[in-house]
Symmetry: C2
Subunit: 545 residues, 2 copies
């Protein structure tokens, strides 16, 4: 058996090494257009910032090491220019010599990845991107030279990582983002703390703005302003590299990625595809979509090797867990966010909490904000987001696992998570999300979201802030009246008839207040996530959802 693999990173290399372990006799040829295989692409921003100071640390394998251990025939700087599925052959060009040749295969695996989107702007040829080692070499060359200012276009995961790392190198950094928020995978009120953190670390944010032209040492913005930019990096997203497949008549999916079935087979016989170039089945919707992440790429690489080797495989829809560091914060997400649910007109419940990373009585606990999205009919978890200084990764990983295991939102309350006071809480933040979900499911709680509050107040609802007078004085929602929780039973008769909304700092006292008032016969909802979520949503973002 001869297997040809196009692309020597993540999915391609996972496929190659697994294939070798399963088929000692197979001939395995890997073509990689770039100069390096199996490099640490997720480490590139941190090499640019000097956190990873040894360039060799990025190069996890070389063609020589892969030949020695796995008898792989790895050819770098070699581009596959066409596929002939009928002949089971690919045409390859040696990018050093320009010589073309034909390579036959029994099975072909496409793992070409996704390429940074570079819009057609005046001057865009000066813009850098960050996809491979050559890219980061160019970026480091620029930063080590005379560059003092940088504009990063796009405030997604890579844009934010770059902003942090170029600040680390001392540059003046501006991030320009078309949306009104950073970090599109998160909802605006969850992304707001990340924007604050970026600004607090000297990153200038141009949200709701765009670059319209790139000049010699500056960029022009859509609002007419200019920003100095010795370096411009495009980080607005990636698109699947499907051109090679399309040219060979291989089908693509609705989002432009290569279409594959559950076994990674494309529409052409003996041609498989994996990784960022293919469309994947979304676990929440069952629909096809693009999820350019390392974990699914690697697992698809292994899976395609199993398929080619005749082993049975499991279908694997994706939940799309992702995380990013931003100076002292981390932000992570899994599944769908509220924006997407609203856009799809899909019913949901949203839950916001602001727990601490571990028991508050043990020193060093750090605050975080969590958000859970729940199917109101089935209680299934639709997605989650978290932002904070510590322990967000753990909670999102637990929720991602719960989603895969079919643990419902309410059942999060039952999870037994490792507790000693330096690591968590007897009622872990994930448990608390479950408790809230259980109350909503059972009807023992009713909440209102931050972005629903204006309409409720306009309709005449009374907003009751049950925090202490001191907390209330330090900042409150316009129009709120203050009745401290511990005085509420005695002062409930002060409240007018009609709908009530209660609020506190994070939503917990508000829940107790709502329980008291409900049992007194009031029509009451608790402001989900309390004052803190309201501030993050209504104040710190520029627009309501």
């Amino acid at each position: 058996m001869k297997v040809v693999i196009v692309g020597g990173v993540a999915g391609g290399m996972s496929a190659a090494t697994r294939l070798r372990r399963l088929n000692e006799d197979a001939r395995i040829v890997v073509f990689e257009r770039g100069a390096h295989v199996s490099f640490a692409n997720c480490g590139l921003p941190y090499y640019a910032g000097g956190v990873i100071d040894d360039r060799d640390a990025l190069l996890l394998q070389t063609p020589e090491s892969l030949a020695a251990r796995f008898e792989l025939d790895v050819r770098v700087r070699t581009e596959v220019t066409s596929i002939d599925p009928e002949a089971r052959a690919v045409t390859v060009r040696d990018l050093t010599t320009g010589v073309e040749s034909v390579e036959t295969y029994d099975e072909l695996v496409l793992s070409p990845g996704a390429s940074p989107i570079v819009p057609d702007l005046p001057g865009v040829e000066r813009a850098l991107v960050l996809r491979d080692v050559e890219d980061v070499d160019r970026l480091v060359g620029a930063v080590d030279g005379s560059a003092r200012t940088a504009v990063i276009v796009g405030a997604g995961f890579i844009g934010i990582e770059l902003a942090e790392n170029l600040r680390r190198r001392g540059l003046d950094v501006t991030v320009v983002e078309l949306a009104d928020q950073v970090l599109g995978p998160l909802d605006p009120e969850m992304a707001a703390p990340v924007a604050d953190e970026l600004r607090a670390n000297g990153v200038r944010l141009e949200l709701g703005n765009q670059v319209t032209a790139i000049g010699a040492d500056a960029v022009t913005l859509g609002d007419g302003g200019t920003v100095p930019a010795d370096v411009v990096v495009m980080a607005i997203g990636v698109r699947p590299e499907s051109a090679l497949a399309v040219a060979a008549g291989i089908a693509t999916g609705p989002r432009g990625g290569i279409a594959v079935d559950e076994t990674m087979r494309t529409s052409a016989d003996h041609v498989y595809a994996v990784g960022d170039a293919v469309e994947k089945i979304d676990a929440v919707s069952g629909q096809s979509g693009l999820v350019p992440l390392a974990n699914p790429a690697n697992r698809q690489g292994r899976l395609v090797a199993d398929v080619i080797s005749g082993l049975p495989v499991r279908p694997r829809p994706v939940v799309g867990t992702a995380i990013v560091g931003a100076f002292t914060l981390m932000a992570a997400a899994v599944g769908w966010n509220e924006k997407r649910l609203r856009a799809a007109d899909r019913p949901y419940r949203a839950i916001h909490t602001h727990p601490q990373s571990h028991a508050g009585y043990y020193p060093g606990a750090q605050g975080m904000s969590l958000k859970l999205l729940v199917d109101p009919d089935t209680d299934a978890i639709l997605g989650a987001q978290g932002v904070g200084g510590e322990g967000v990764d753990k909670r999102i990983d637990v929720i991602a696992t719960a989603m895969v295991g079919g643990v419902t939102a309410s059942e999060l309350a039952d999870l037994e998570l490792a507790y000693a006071p330096q690591f968590g809480s007897a009622k872990d933040p994930v448990n608390m999300l479950g408790y809230v979900a259980d109350n909503l499911r059972a009807g023992t709680a009713a909440t209102i979201q931050w972005h629903e509050l204006p309409a409720a107040l306009d309709a005449g609802a009374t907003l009751v802030d049950v925090r202490t007078p001191a907390e209330f004085a330090a900042g409150s929602i316009p129009g709120a009246v203050n009745i401290e929780l511990d005085a509420l039973r005695g002062r409930a008769d002060e409240l007018p008839a009609g709908e009530l909304v209660v609020t506190c700092q994070v939503g917990q006292r508000g829940h107790t207040a709502a329980r008291i008032l409900r049992q007194l016969g009031c029509d009451v909802r608790n402001l989900d996530g309390g004052y803190r979520t309201w501030v993050a949503g209504a104040v710190r973002t520029d627009t309501l959802v």
Copy 2:
């Protein structure tokens, strides 16, 4: 409705506050024998060590704060001395005045907890225990006084936390443990790094030894030795406080805890019990057992409030997730360990790995050891253990969640866990456990455990170490021959006929070696966890399993 609750910590207080939120009109009386309710019992060792320096931080609530917010009638220093289920009444004694009175109830919730086991030894009246705030006051008083030496009896979770914290206060600390290992919930090879860490931090360990008598300033050991001991703390375990229930004719379970059904009902009408005092259903075996942990106690407290309030509840078998810090290490476990599986004669597969806490190319990754136990018939996860410097809590939490969600061992490979290089790996340590499990399930890998190796070698197997010559020279298993992995294909003809065992540092290169040799027709198994597990098991523990 009048509800009487016996015990004002964890389960009892969770029940009381939830009851109030559900029943604004109920009368709720909480009797607590001690001077404090709702204190942070898991924080006591860290207060003893000065990590938590404010004693008030331990006192999360007071009777006054609970009255103000939840209208609870909390009576501390008040002991319930008998229950009359027929009359629905308890007799209570005010421990300050000695006055007895009778309190009737509609529903009674028992949450008396578990008490430290104090063996009947000469001089044991001098020994301290660590259960409540009064206990820690005594301990701190001793440590702040003239104490310079301490003996802690028992190397379980509390014993180890105490050892660390008394070292922090400058005492000479000896831990005496009857078993041959520390941390009984872990298997010996997983506990070995914790023992190393304790010794490296100046804790003297007396394993396989016991205290036979306690003198004025020293203890006598079972081997005849003596150890100076200004302070002696008993931490050999706890037993459920079931005496009050037993005296009332309430049934107990096979392990001596109060017997309850899935709704926390005892054998007496209108009497419920929760927390460390009750037997719980083990998720792995479906059998009744004792699991004295904070998380199940809290969730049972909430559950019993729901039951009393007429809400539907879910049955909740326990997996028993637990964690302990030991200086720079953390050690965690969930489900069953290998010792227990062997003792129960239950079939299992064991998997050991030694991953890093995050991508190795990003600075600061810390090593950890993980162990997974798998049902060979169903591929169900039976348990897991971890020890390391960072990120162990996250992996055990993910596995605990997978167990609850019915995610199989092989399916751990499919989990999408948040990856950026400072937080994890594209193939997370949990994914890697899944990959190994999948190989074992599919038969593409066969392993041998460290404790099975001596018998295999005695039976004539050849042990092949595929690490580099330099690694081999730095320490190897007696009798091993060294053929570096990258030379194995060329040198396989040097190997004798008969069974082969391959090994490397952590098991990963051994897997590739085994795949090569298997396809050459060899009868080969890979030493699970490699040299590192073998050293931890065969060298660093005193006995084989």
